[in-house]
């Protein structure tokens, strides 16, 4: 059974908040100097350089403190490699599959076939865009029920042929819309979770960005669940938590800390199996290195899981989720 987490380091949280304020101040000064349109003058250019250097030092110092809110910002970073980019880079001869055969093709969920390390696998991943136009097209990575049903259809295909499933997870949430409700968002998520728990092939999951609640878990029940260093995994977005608890979405930073959503805390709770280190400063600074790290981590695990008899695989998967939770047995 899970242990409890240590007390939050509130001093570090306060320090980080203060550093962020300072950093924002420096950025404002730089912007102000630039706006004066005299940035070609040697002394102004010198001032800007000095400020940028101070900003850089601060950013480095903040990386060392690692607060939950920074992790949230990092996980949501627009330049962070997208789940679909991981899939397309990790798999050779990727062939996309479309549609849930029931309603439509959900562009917020990618499903397809490909070769990983010489082995046929079926992959699923939510899709986020790089800019607003792309994001509108893929609904900001928030699937409808048909997205989850498409993913399940792909996973069933994997099961039929005995191929492992690879799920790359980065989604803020299942889409909260009226049409999604009408078509059974809850049922689709429940179905996926239940089916993944007993899918008769190895399931490998990597949480690369936002692990947003039930919408993420619907493609994240697996034998091996890995998590990138700066990814987050949470039962509710910090904004929603702050709104419910304190009726103030502005207190999201506090909620992020309280929810214990960083990879380090999630691993300590026993919710994920391992944390994968990212390139210094975050995956967005070197996407190729981040993808390579994921490939290296997956390779031995996929091999080991492929050797397990199915019944043993299922027994272990059940036991793993069965043991998650923290409670006391009073007498």
């Amino acid at each position: 059974m899970t242990r409890t987490l240590p007390e939050r380091d509130r001093a570090a949280e306060a320090r980080a908040a203060e550093m962020e304020t300072r950093l924002a101040g420096i950025q404002r000064e730089i912007d102000a100097l630039r706006r004066r349109g005299e940035k070609d003058k040697p002394d102004i250019a010198e001032q800007i350089r000095a400020l940028e250097a101070r900003g850089g030092e601060l950013r480095e110092a903040m990386l060392a403190v690692r607060t939950a809110w920074q992790a949230v910002a990092m996980a949501r970073h627009p330049q962070r490699p997208k789940a679909q980019e991981f899939v397309r880079a990790l798999l050779d001869e990727f062939t996309e599959l479309h549609g849930d055969r029931l309603f439509r093709d959900d562009p917020a969920m990618l499903a397809g076939l490909g070769w990983f390390d010489g082995r046929p696998v079926v992959a699923v991943a939510p899709c986020k865009g790089r800019d607003t136009r792309e994001n509108i097209a893929c609904n900001f990575g928030m699937p409808y029920p048909e997205g989850y049903r498409k993913a399940l259809r792909a996973m069933r295909l994997a099961e039929k042929f005995g191929y492992p499933v690879l799920s790359i997870v980065d989604t803020p949430a299942a889409f909260p819309g009226d049409a999604a409700e009408e078509r059974g968002q809850a049922e689709a998520i429940a179905r996926n979770i239940g089916e993944m728990a007993r899918l008769r092939v190895p399931v490998l999951v990597v949480i690369t960005g936002e692990g947003g609640s039930g919408g993420a878990l619907a493609i994240a029940v697996g034998d091996e669940v890995l998590m990138l260093e700066h990814a987050v995994y949470t039962v509710i977005p910090p904004e929603g938590c702050a709104a419910i608890l304190w009726h103030d979405a502005g207190r999201s930073r506090e909620a992020a800390s309280a929810l214990r959503l960083t990879a380090q805390e999630i691993a300590a709770l026993g919710v994920v199996d391992e944390i994968l280190p990212e390139p210094h400063g975050g995956a967005h600074l070197d996407p190729q290195a981040a993808i390579a790290a994921v490939r290296e981590a997956l390779r031995p695990r996929m091999e080991a899981l492929a050797r397990l008899p199915v019944e043993e695989l299922l027994r272990r998967r059940y036991a793993k989720y069965r043991a998650m939770g923290y409670y006391e047995e009073q007498l």
Partner: protein
């Protein structure tokens, strides 16, 4: 009443809705109803038919054969794994108000003489939210159903996952779904009853995974909250959005069953799915005035 449970009993509706004593105003239609009439009518307003919420004990007492219930895992209590500000205080308050250790009561009981593994969530305990204890109890009662090959019946009433337990609460969706999934393979029937309200993580796990999914009239059933959806879509939603009747119309549930008929429907389904009758059928404990029998 409710003498088959060990812990002190609280009649929540009478405390909450009838502070003045004998007459209670229906929160839906505003009609004043004599409290014993409301009790006898299983807390369904005789005027407008609104199904008022029941606590987990009340739910079990009106559903199960009298004296048939044996509770399981009553001693399970939530810890504070995240050291979440204010969680311990909220737990103590909910325990004091409800007399229960957490938001679910589970065990084994009879419905018209057929033995079932049964669970009921309690909305009065932190909104019926599912943390580690609720997840563990649901998983254990499902495992009991599997071990004894008896049907599982779960009454849900919950706002969803308990955010004070963070990702551990989220993992209860996986734990409970995996546990009821095993019944599927063993061909043990699982009947899910959604009561007002059943939302969020509970709908997105065991509540929607029943072989038959039943809802009480008017119950709020949905994944995302109305306010969040209205903000996202930037428009108002119709009144009946996410009601049991709305879900039935959209093909999400099998039936909407009035409270007075629920026990009979469950018994009929249990018989259909082959649950043996091991005891003589007994009426549940009569609600309200013990002298008055049920219709």
């Amino acid at each position: 009443m409710l003498n088959w449970l060990r812990r002190p009993k609280h009649d929540r509706i009478s405390r909450r809705d009838m502070p003045a004593g004998l007459w209670v105003k229906c929160s839906r239609c505003g009609t004043a109803v004599y409290h014993k009439d409301l009790e006898r009518n299983l807390k369904v307003c005789p005027k407008c038919g609104w199904h008022h919420r029941l606590g987990a004990e009340e739910r079990l007492s009106i559903t199960l054969d009298e004296h048939s219930f044996e509770e399981m895992d009553a001693e399970l209590a939530s810890g504070d794994p995240l050291r979440f500000d204010g969680y311990r205080e909220k737990l103590s308050e909910a325990r004091a108000n409800t007399g229960n250790a957490d938001a679910a009561i589970t065990g084994v009981g009879g419905i018209e003489g057929r033995r079932v593994a049964v669970g009921a969530l309690d909305f009065a305990f932190m909104g019926g939210s599912m943390g580690s204890v609720v997840g563990e109890k649901i998983a254990r009662v499902a495992e009991r159903a599997l071990a004894d090959r008896m049907p599982l019946v779960i009454f849900s009433a919950s706002g969803g996952a308990r955010m004070q337990e963070g990702a551990l609460s989220l993992m209860q969706l996986a734990k409970t779904s995996a546990a009821v999934g095993r019944l599927h393979e063993a061909r043990v029937p699982y009947l899910s009853v959604m009561c007002d309200p059943t939302t969020g993580g509970v709908t997105a796990s065991f509540a929607f995974l029943g072989d038959v999914v039943i809802a009480e009239p008017g119950a709020l059933i949905g994944f995302a909250g109305r306010r969040v959806i209205e903000q996202t879509m930037r428009r108002k939603l119709p009144e009946r959005f996410q009601t049991a009747e709305f879900c039935l119309e959209h093909g999400l549930i099998d039936m909407v069953v009035p409270r007075s008929e629920l026990r009979g429907v469950l018994a009929r389904l249990l018989r259909f799915f082959g649950a043996p009758q091991v005891a003589a059928p007994q009426a549940p404990e009569a609600p309200g005035d013990p002298e008055v029998g049920r219709p």
